[in-house]
Symmetry: C2
DNA sequence: ACCTGAACACCGTTCAAGT
DNA sequence: ACCTGAACACCGTTCAAGT
């Protein structure tokens, strides 16, 4: 990549991070390009879809959540590890308003730029869930995809201004259902 | 209302029902107006917001769900009545793809045309929940707003194509959490 | 190689002008 | 009273033309 292109790309990502933190993941791409001082077509050259831009932006966070799952796999009780990780996932999505809908769409869409990250995340959750199930402290009638869906639903609750005040409490309610044997 | 206006209004509602059933509640209002053979401005004269159009369209359904709650209040066991009604609510929203987001926004927005219907629905759910709580068959640390949020989250799951296959099962999981004492 | 303005086909909002 | 086309300010997509 040419030096000027690299610079454009980095700057776009930085501006996108700020704008998306303010307005959510559905922020106008034109607005992001404008604030970065480049044309919209330039943004789309670097990131052909909104998902591609988000993937570049959230890649580090996805890695961190996956790494965190790895740490938890060998520490604490299986059920504490699972619930702690679920809490981390939900808390993380609140930083990116609206990302839940895109993740829900990406988990089954192999064409989406977010697909691989979502699949990796689901696999990490599956390992923690299986461990808790093997220990007899999580219900055995759910799998990693169910877990992914429950995280998404709880994250979605946190995204809705009117329901967000109940999100933490309802997390506990759902977590108790997961841990029920 | 003048006869021609009434006719326009009725026809718009009929067309809107068809289009929204196909495309979801975020269907283009311009498209609905076009298919109804009137100008977009005419649609907006009758229904100044998307919520107003939906309220007119869903009014009957809201009434039916509320009436159903009333019937269930005096029949069957409190926990069966509650779960049965929750299931009805979630099943109903699947007919109107995307309505959950608008309802979640309307429950606290007194300006929304959907506000009154959502509040009525929440009140109906609250009565069924309280009855089950009094009978000792529903957890007592949740209220009607929590219930509304859980319905919304489950309905949202059913709206996401990739997660919808798990929606029924996850309904049972969450229902079991509500019924836990 | 990389960037860009401009044309395109949409969206919902608003309103002056018509019947 | 009621309706409507048109202007407006947006959106993301596409591409020919520039550096």
């Amino acid at each position: 990549m040419r030096a000027d292109a690299r610079k454009n790309r980095d700057h776009l990502l930085s501006v996108a991070g700020t704008v998306i933190a303010e307005q959510g993941v559905e922020a106008s791409l034109r607005d992001i390009a404008r604030k970065a001082g480049v044309g919209l077509a330039t943004l789309l050259r670097h990131f052909p879809t909104r998902e591609a831009l988000l993937e570049a932006l959230l890649h580090t966070s996805f890695d961190e959540l996956t790494a965190r799952a790895g740490e938890l796999e060998t520490s604490g009780s299986p059920e504490d590890a699972l619930v702690s990780w679920l809490r981390d996932c939900v808390a993380w999505t609140t930083e990116y308003r609206g990302v839940t809908v895109l993740m829900a769409a990406a988990i089954e869409d192999t064409e989406s730029a977010l697909h691989a990250s979502c699949v990796t995340l689901r696999a990490a959750g599956t390992r923690l869930l299986t461990r808790a199930q093997d220990a007899g402290t999580a219900r055995t009638d759910i799998d990693g995809t169910d877990l992914f869906a429950l995280i998404a639903a709880l994250a979605w609750l946190g995204d809705q201004p009117a329901l967000a005040p109940r999100a933490d409490h309802l997390f506990d309610v759902v977590a108790s259902a997961i841990l029920a044997k």
